[in-house]
Symmetry: C2
Subunit: 118 residues, 2 copies
């Protein structure tokens, strides 16, 4: 503990609790991975559009003004992270949200950026 805390003014009892209760490496990795998914404009737009209604790849591509391939890659990312799901009908794939947390995540982020508006 001495090796860890060289500063005065630090509550060492509190620090012990902090270390005991710290999230394990796996949790940290899952969390950072989860947030990284939201850390890209294209994916945010896709999630926004899908929060309104189910849409096919071609429509999403024209909505986000990006190539079909790029959108398809991003949808794969979102699918692997369990944020969207697919429904196939003939050759077209209809995507929709697969997580009810997306809305609340968006709300907290909007609160933050609105407070920080410079």
């Amino acid at each position: 503990m001495d090796a860890i805390c060289k500063c005065k003014n630090i509550d060492k009892k509190e620090l012990e609790r902090t270390i005991e209760q710290q999230p394990d490496a796996d949790t940290i990795e899952r969390m950072s991975n989860f947030f990284s998914v939201f850390g890209d404009g294209t994916r945010l737009k896709i999630l926004y559009y899908l929060s309104c209604q189910e849409l096919c790849v071609a429509d999403l591509a024209s909505l986000v003004k990006m190539g079909q391939s790029a959108v398809s890659h991003q949808l794969r990312n979102l699918r692997l992270n369990r944020l969207v799901k697919v429904r196939k009908e003939g050759t077209t794939s209809y995507y929709s949200l697969d997580d009810e947390h997306v809305q609340s995540i968006f709300e907290v982020a909007l609160e933050h950026i609105n407070e920080v508006k410079r």
Copy 2:
């Protein structure tokens, strides 16, 4: 609109509303930027430790098991994004959280990754 929606089964009235109400480019950029900050394990750990108590750079470095420089760079990032603030005392800098959303953000993320546990 025809150029946008080539698929059947799409509610075009809803699509119009979706486009009208879509967040502007600036908002999208701020949001993705905000989430990117949380998309890194080192920063997540720092935020966790600071959610327990104010800490100096050296202590944070030994807690996250990383060099002083790396931590300092990340603290700068967090500071620029208004997530932490500094208090100087002599040569040491004490960092603490500067945003009450951090807790709620963490909670939503934990809910998600706990549901997705594979």
